[in-house]
C-alpha cells in the first residue's frame, strides 16, 4: 500500500518476484494500476488519502472475528495495559481525542496515559486517580522524545493490566471500540473499494498470519506524504502486531525509502529536530543543561536500551568536541544548537519569503522542482543574500532567477533578484567513496570507481574544507557564539597531499562507529559506550560498523558461502541485526512459533539466545525472567519484553506518548478532499499544520463550499525512467528518451467528461498553479464510487522542469503546503484539482486565470484553515496573516 515498488524500487522488487515464484500472493492496494499492479495477483483500487479507513476496516475485521494472533498480542504488545480514566476516544468526541486545544490546534497528551498499578489499587479503594505525566505540549518539538517516545518510569509491573483483555479500559478493548465503525460498508463508501475485494484482502491477510505463515507489508512515500502520514504507518503497524507479523521472518513493515541512502540521512540526520541516532535536538528553554535534557529523554529508572541514552549522547558530544568535552562542562552540551520552533524545510522557505533567512545550502536537492509548492520555493530562494547549490548539473534551483515560470509572469525580475547563487559541481556516487544505507538499514561501502572530473568534489571534501576555513577565520574570535565551531574536533584523517586533500571516508566511518578516547581503539558496539567520556561515537546505532577496526560495511561474502540471512554482506544497524525485535519470532517460552518460521530462540543448554540472526535481546536473559523491582535499563527487561527499545518492553497498539495527533490512527480526510468525512464531524487531521498565508492558498473542501471548482482527486508520483526532480535523469539522453514529456493520466471516463483526447494537451488547475501536460487516456485509471458519487482521480509524474534535454511544467507547483504535525512531511500525495483541455495560458493571462478560478471557488486566506470541525469545540481559523 502506498508503494509503487516495481517502478520506484525495481531492484528491490526482484525479491517480490522471487517470493511470488515461490508461491507468495502479492496484493497491490493503490489509487492507480501501475507496473507493480501488473505483476500482482490482485490489484485493489482505492481513493488517494483513505488508507487509514481501509486499514481500520481490516483491523476491525480482525478484532470482530477474533482473528488476532492472541498469544503474540498478549505477550508482546500493550493490549492488556489499562489506559487511565479520563481518556476519551474519537468515538466519544466526534473524531477528536481528549485533550484537544482548539486555540493551538494541538493535543495535551496527559489524558492518554496508562493507569499505574498504584492508581488501580487506589481506585479500587475509592480514591482519586490522576495523570502522572506533566503536560509536555511541545508544539514546536514533535520529535522531542527521539526514537522511543517519552520515558515511562518503572517496570511493566507498574502498569495496571488485565491479561484477559476484557477490561473496558484495556488497550485491546479501546482498540476494538475505536475501529468498530470501520465496517466493510464504510470502507466502500470512503475508499471506493468494493466489499468483495475488501473481504478478499482481509481473508488473505489473516489466513497468512499465524504460527506457520507471515505477511509482509510494504509502504513508501504514498503513505508518508499525507497530513495524517505518521498515523498511516501506525495503522499498518497495529495490524501487523495484531497478526503477529513483527519481529518474525517474512513479516514486518517495510518502509521503502525515497532515494539511495535516505535511510542514512535520517539515521545521521539532515533534519532540524534530530541528532544522530534519533536523539532529539535540544529545545531552547526546556533543555538548559545535560541532566535536564537527559531526564526529558529517558527516565533513569526506565527499562530497555533507551535507558542508555546518556551514554549515546555523551559519546556523541565527545566525538563532536573531542578533548574539549569534559565532565566539567557537561561534555559541551551547551555548544549544541537549540531549536525553538518549527524549522522544517517548508517553514524555512516561508521565512525566506518573509526575509528572515539569508543563506541557503542545497545539496542534492532541487526544491524548485522537487518540493511541494514550487513557486513558493522559487520565491523564497529569490529573496536571499546567498544560495549555494552543489549538484551534478545546473538544476532549476540554481537558475530560477533567470528562467523560472515567475520570470514569465513578472514575479521574479532577473535584474532585480537579490540572491547571489554559487554553483559547485558535485562528484557523483561513482566518483567518491563512502557508504549507502539502504531501506533495510544496511550500510554498504562503495569504492571510488573513477576520479571526479574538473572541479567536481565530494560532499565530504566540501564540508571538511568549509569547516576548516571557517574555523581558521574564527580562530581569534572572542564572540561566545563562535565557541561551538572553535571547540569542534576537526581532526579528520585526509588522503593525498596538497592544500586541498580529500578526507578519508573510512576515518569518518571509524569515528561514527566510536572508539575509546584513551586508546583510540574502535568499540565493538553501542553496548560498550559509556556516559563518562571514555568513549566517543558519532552515531550510536551505527556502532559496530567498524568493530575490530574492520570496515564491516565493505563485506561481500557470497550468498552461497554463508548463512541464510547473509550476515556477512554489508552491515545492518543495530549490531548487524537483520530483523528488528526478533525476540518476537519465538514464543514467550523462547521456542520458535514454528519450525518453518524460526529465527532466534533460547538455547537452554548454553543459557543464551541464539539463531539465524543476531538476537535482539539481552543474550543471557532467559524467557521466563522477572526482573527485581529496582532493576533499570536492559536488566529490567522481562524475559518476554520483546520490544527492547520501548519503555514498557511492549509494542504499542495504543501510543500513550510520541504521537502528536492521537494515540490511535483515525481516518481523516485529506486537507483537500472531494468528500465529507463519513466517520466523524472532524473532517481533517485536527493537528495538521496549514500555514494559512496569502501565498499558500488551499482549494476548498467540505464542509466548505465550492469543491465543485476542483472536483477531481490529484495524485503525483514517479516513473522508473526518471529520478525525482529530474536533475539526474533529464540531463541524460538514455533516460530522457524513455519518458520524454510530461503527461497526465486520465481514465476514458474523465477524458469524455472533459473532452480530452489521447496525446492531446490538457492543463491541470489548482488554486496555486496550472500545469500543462500531454494527455494519456488509459484503462489503468478508473473512477470510483464514493458514497454514491463518482469520483475521478488524475495522476501525473513530477520529474519535469525548465532545464535539461526534456522540459516541462513543474507538477509540484500544483500543491500547497500543509504538513503532518509529527514530522512536518508535506501532503503531496493527494490534493484536488480541475483538468481542462488544451494549453494553459501563459504570463499575465495565467495569473489572471488563476485569480479568476480562486474567486469562483471563493478561495480566501481562511480557506482550509478551519482545522477543527468536530462538534463541541470552537471552529477557529488558523491563519498566519490577515486577508
Amino acid at each position: 500500500m502506498g508503494s509503487n515498488m516495481a517502478e520506484a524500487h525495481p531492484v528491490g522488487f526482484q525479491w517480490v518476484v522471487e517470493a511470488k515464484s515461490r508461491g507468495a500472493r502479492v496484493i497491490h492496494i493503490d489509487p492507480r494500476f501501475t507496473r507493480t499492479s501488473a505483476l500482482a495477483d490482485t490489484f485493489v483500487p482505492l481513493r488517494a488519502g483513505t488508507d487509514i479507513a481501509f486499514l481500520g476496516g481490516v483491523i476491525n475485521h480482525v478484532l470482530t472475528h477474533d482473528l488476532d494472533f492472541r498469544e503474540y498480542v498478549r505477550a508482546y504488545t500493550n493490549a492488556a495495559f489499562l489506559v487511565a480514566e479520563g481518556f476519551e476516544d474519537t468515538e466519544d468526541l466526534d473524531g477528536l481525542f481528549s485533550g484537544y486545544d482548539a486555540e493551538t490546534g494541538t493535543y495535551g497528551r496527559d489524558l492518554w496515559q496508562y493507569e499505574s498499578a498504584e492508581q488501580a489499587r487506589t481506585e479500587r479503594e475509592g480514591g482519586e486517580g490522576g495523570g502522572d505525566s506533566a503536560m509536555d505540549q511541545e508544539r514546536t518539538s514533535p520529535m522531542g522524545h527521539g526514537a522511543a517516545g517519552a520515558p515511562l518510569s518503572g517496570t511493566t509491573g507498574d502498569i495496571a493490566q488485565d491479561p484477559t483483555l476484557q477490561h473496558p479500559r484495556c488497550v485491546f478493548q479501546i482498540l476494538k471500540r475505536h475501529f468498530s465503525r470501520y465496517t466493510p460498508e464504510m470502507v466502500e463508501r470512503i475508499c471506493g473499494t468494493l466489499p468483495g475485494q475488501f473481504r478478499e484482502v482481509c481473508e488473505a491477510w489473516t489466513a497468512n498470519s499465524n504460527r506457520e505463515r507471515t505477511t509482509a507489508l510494504v509502504y513508501s512515500v504514498g503513505w508518508t506524504q499525507h497530513s495524517v502520514g505518521a498515523q498511516y504507518i501506525r495503522a499498518g503497524s497495529i495490524l501487523q502486531l495484531l497478526l503477529g507479523n513483527i519481529g518474525r521472518p517474512g513479516g514486518g513493515v517495510f518502509a521503502l525509502r525515497g532515494h539511495a541512502s535516505i535511510q542514512g540521512s535520517t539515521d545521521i540526520p539532515t533534519l532540524f529536530n534530530l541528532l544522530p541516532g534519533y536523539l532529539p535536538m535540544p529545545t531552547a528553554g526546556s533543555h538548559e543543561d545535560l541532566p535536564t535534557y537527559l531526564d526529558d529523554l529517558r527516565s533513569p529508572t526506565q527499562k530497555g536500551y533507551w535507558a542508555g541514552a546518556d551514554a549515546y549522547l555523551v559519546s556523541l558530544l565527545k566525538e563532536y568536541f573531542g578533548d574539549n568535552a569534559t565532565e566539567g562542562n557537561g561534555y559541551g552540551f551547551d555548544w549544541l544548537p537549540r531549536i525553538n520552533g518549527d524549522h522544517g524545510t517548508y517553514r524555512t522557505v516561508m521565512d525566506m519569503v518573509d526575509g528572515k533567512v539569508f543563506g541557503y545550502f542545497l545539496l542534492g536537492q532541487n526544491p524548485a522542482v522537487g518540493s511541494a509548492h514550487g513557486k513558493l520555493q522559487r520565491l523564497g530562494m529569490a529573496n536571499l543574500d546567498w544560495l549555494v547549490v552543489r549538484d551534478l548539473a545546473m538544476i532549476e534551483s540554481a537558475t530560477f532567477w533567470k528562467d523560472s515560470p515567475e520570470v514569465e509572469t513578472g514575479e521574479i525580475v532577473p535584474e532585480m533578484c537579490r540572491t547571489e547563487v554559487f554553483f559547485f559541481p558535485a562528484a557523483s556516487h561513482v566518483e567518491k567513496e563512502g557508504t549507502f544505507t539502504q531501506t533495510q538499514r544496511m550500510l554498504q561501502w562503495r569504492e571510488k570507481a573513477v576520479e571526479p572530473v574538473g572541479d567536481q568534489r565530494s560532499e565530504l571534501w566540501f564540508f571538511y574544507h568549509l569547516g576548516r576555513m571557517i574555523r581558521e577565520r574564527l580562530a581569534g574570535s572572542t564572540d561566545p557564539r563562535d565557541e561551538p565551531v572553535q571547540k569542534l574536533d576537526w581532526s579528520y584523517a585526509v588522503q593525498g597531499g596538497g592544500a586541498w586533500p580529500e578526507p578519508s571516508a573510512q576515518d569518518v566511518l571509524r569515528r561514527i562507529n566510536g572508539y575509546r578516547t584513551d586508546t583510540g581503539e574502535p568499540v565493538g558496539g553501542y553496548t560498550e559506550l559509556a556516559a563518562d567520556g571514555s568513549t566517543a561515537c558519532g552515531c550510536w546505532i551505527y556502532s559496530g560498523v567498524f568493530a575490530d577496526g574492520v570496515n564491516q560495511a565493505a563485506r561481500r561474502v557470497a550468498h552461497a558461502e554463508q548463512g541464510p540471512y547473509d550476515a556477512e554482506w554489508g552491515w545492518t544497524w543495530p549490531s548487524n541485526r537483520r530483523v528488528l525485535y526478533n525476540r518476537a519470532s519465538a514464543d514467550p517460552e523462547g521456542r520458535p512459533w514454528s519450525e518453518r518460521k524460526k529465527l532466534v530462540w533460547w538455547d537452554a543448554e548454553q543459557g543464551e539466545w541464539t539463531g539465524d540472526d543476531v538476537p535482539d535481546f539481552p543474550k543471557k536473559t532467559p524467557p521466563g525472567f522477572v526482573p527485581p523491582e529496582d532493576a533499570t535499563g536492559p536488566d529490567a527487561l522481562r524475559g518476554d519484553d520483546a520490544f527492547i527499545m520501548q519503555a514498557d518492553g511492549k509494542a504499542w497498539l495504543f501510543a500513550p506518548h510520541g504521537m502528536l495527533d492521537g494515540p490511535l490512527p483515525t481516518h481523516y480526510e485529506p486537507h483537500e478532499s472531494p468528500a465529507r468525512n463519513l466517520l466523524y464531524g472532524q473532517q481533517g487531521n485536527p493537528t495538521r499544520k496549514v500555514y494559512g498565508r496569502l501565498d499558500n492558498p488551499s482549494n476548498p473542501s467540505p464542509p466548505e463550499a465550492h469543491r465543485e471548482v476542483f472536483p477531481f482527486v490529484l495524485t503525483a508520483a514517479r516513473l522508473t525512467e526518471h529520478h525525482t526532480a529530474g536533475g539526474m535523469s533529464r540531463q541524460l539522453p538514455y533516460l530522457a528518451e524513455l519518458q520524454p514529456e510530461l503527461f497526465v493520466e486520465v481514465s476514458p471516463e474523465l477524458a469524455r467528461i472533459r473532452g480530452l483526447s489521447h496525446l492531446g494537451y490538457a492543463h491541470v488547475v489548482t488554486s496555486r498553479a496550472a500545469v500543462e501536460a500531454r494527455v494519456v487516456v488509459t484503462d489503468r485509471m478508473a473512477p470510483l464510487r464514493i458514497d454514491g458519487e463518482v469520483v475521478h482521480q488524475v495522476w501525473l509524474p513530477y520529474h519535469w522542469g525548465g532545464s535539461g534535454l526534456v522540459t516541462g511544467d513543474v507538477v509540484n507547483d500544483l500543491l500547497g503546503v500543509v504538513t503532518d504535525a509529527n514530522v512536518f512531511i508535506q501532503e503531496s500525495k493527494v490534493a484536488t484539482c480541475d483538468v481542462r483541455p488544451g494549453h494553459r495560458p501563459r504570463g499575465a493571462a495565467l495569473t489572471a486565470m488563476l485569480a479568476e478560478t480562486r474567486a469562483r471557488a471563493g478561495v480566501t486566506i481562511e480557506t482550509g484553515t478551519t482545522i477543527a470541525t468536530a462538534a463541541g469545540v470552537p471552529h477557529l481559523q488558523h491563519t498566519e496573516e490577515s486577508s
Binding site: Q14, F33, A40, D41, T720, A736, R752, R780, L805, P837
Partner: protein, 348 residues
C-alpha cells in the same frame, strides 16, 4: 525435414560456421511474465555498446517511447494494455463506475502515425512527429453515452503486458545469409554479429531479417543490431541487458539449459492458470531453426509486434534454385549460385 543446413534444426551452429573448438551456444530466454517494464535493459545496452539516443518523442503507446528495435535501439520494451484477464489475476476494475475501454482510442491515436512512419515504430522513436492538437479529432470512438457507464458498458478485465525484445540470433540467420561482404558473421558462441569496419551499408540484411530487427544507422548507412555483447562474452561476462535486469526476466545462458528452464517455467505458469503462456522462438523446427534469443509470451506474438511465423528467406532457396535451373537462363543461375555459396561458405 530438410538436410541442406539452410533451414531446420542445427545442433552445432558454431561448428557449422567453422569454429572447430568452441564454447556452447548461448542466448537469451526472456520471460515476459516477470518483466516490470523498467527499461534497464535498454539503458544498459546503450551504455555498454555506445548506442546513440533514439529521439525524444512521446509515442503514447502506453509507456513505450522507444517504438521498436532499430539501429539506435537494440533492446525495446513493449507495453501492451489489454482489456483481457491475465490468468487468475484480479485487476480490480469489476464493479467500478467505468465505461468502455480506451484501447481503441489509444490505437486510433497511435495507429495512423505508425502507418506514416517508414519503418513503423522505429521511426516513431527517431523522427519528430506531428503532435495532435487538442482541437483535432483523433478518431476516438464515438461513445454513445457521456459520463460513467456500468454493467455491460463497464470494462472489467484488464492486464498490462511488458516484454523486452531483442535480436533473435537465429539458427538460420537471414541477415547473415544474405550479407555479401562478410560483415555479418557467426561467432564461436553461436551468436550473429555485424563487423562495423566491413559493413558497406548495402542493406540486404535489413530485408533478409524475418523479424525486422536489423537496421541501418542514417549517419553512415551501416547495419546495426544487438551483438549479444560479443565483447563481454569474450571477457566471460554476461550481456549488459541481462546483467541489469532486476527481476531476471532476461536470462542469459547456454541455450540448451535455457530451453529446459523455459519449459519448466511454462509448465509452472500453466499449472497456476496462466494458460495463455507460450514459448516463442524456442522450437528448433520453426522457420528459422529456433532462436538463440527466445521468449515466454502471454499472448499471440503479433500483440508484441512479433511475426507469428518467421521464416528465414533462404529456406526456400534450394527449391528456387531447382526451379530456376530447369527454366531460367544460365546467367541468372550463376548469379543465384554465387549468392548461395557465399551464404553457406563458412560464415554461418
Amino acid at each position: 525435414m530438410t538436410s541442406n543446413r539452410l533451414s531446420g534444426p542445427l545442433d552445432d551452429v558454431a561448428g557449422e560456421a567453422g569454429h572447430a573448438d568452441h564454447p556452447p551456444r548461448v542466448g537469451f530466454f526472456t520471460d515476459t511474465s516477470i518483466c516490470i517494464g523498467c527499461k534497464a535493459c535498454e539503458v544498459a545496452c546503450k551504455e555498454w555498446n555506445a548506442v546513440p539516443e533514439d529521439g525524444l518523442d512521446l509515442l503514447g503507446m502506453s509507456f513505450d517511447n522507444t517504438g521498436m528495435l532499430g539501429a539506435n535501439s537494440w533492446r525495446h520494451v513493449a507495453f501492451i494494455e489489454q482489456p483481457r484477464a491475465l490468468g487468475h489475476q484480479d485487476p480490480g476494475f469489476a464493479g467500478l463506475p467505468t465505461g468502455p475501454t480506451s484501447g481503441d482510442g489509444m490505437a486510433d491515436a497511435v495507429g495512423p502515425r505508425l502507418r506514416e512512419a517508414e519503418r513503423g515504430g522505429s521511426e516513431l522513436g527517431t523522427s519528430p512527429l506531428h503532435t495532435p492538437n487538442h482541437t483535432e479529432s483523433l478518431g476516438m470512438p464515438a461513445f454513445s453515452r457521456p459520463g460513467e457507464g456500468t454493467g455491460a458498458e463497464g470494462r472489467t478485465d484488464f492486464r498490462w503486458l511488458m516484454a523486452s525484445d531483442v535480436c533473435k540470433h537465429c539458427t538460420h540467420a537471414g541477415c547473415l545469409d544474405v550479407c555479401p561482404t562478410g560483415a555479418l558473421f557467426r561467432t564461436e558462441f553461436g551468436t550473429v554479429v555485424v563487423q562495423q569496419n566491413i559493413c558497406n551499408g548495402c542493406g540486404y540484411c535489413v530485408s533478409g531479417c524475418p523479424y525486422g530487427v536489423i537496421d541501418r544507422r542514417p549517419e553512415d548507412g551501416r547495419a546495426q543490431k544487438c551483438t549479444l555483447c560479443y565483447d563481454r562474452l569474450e571477457g566471460g561476462l554476461e550481456p549488459a541487458c541481462a546483467k541489469a535486469c532486476p527481476t531476471d526476466s532476461i536470462q542469459f545462458g547456454e541455450l540448451d539449459e535455457l530451453r529446459e528452464r523455459a519449459d519448466r517455467r511454462l509448465a509452472q505458469l500453466h499449472d497456476i492458470g496462466v494458460t495463455e503462456a507460450r514459448l516463442y522462438g524456442r522450437d528448433p523446427d520453426d522457420g528459422v531453426g529456433g532462436d538463440g534469443a527466445f521468449f515466454l509470451l502471454l499472448d499471440e506474438p503479433e500483440v508484441y509486434g512479433l511475426p507469428p511465423d518467421p521464416v528465414v528467406p533462404t529456406r526456400d532457396a534450394p527449391s528456387m534454385w531447382r526451379h530456376a535451373g530447369a527454366a531460367a537462363a544460365a546467367f541468372a543461375l550463376a548469379g543465384i549460385g554465387a549468392f548461395i555459396s557465399t551464404a553457406i561458405g563458412g560464415r554461418r
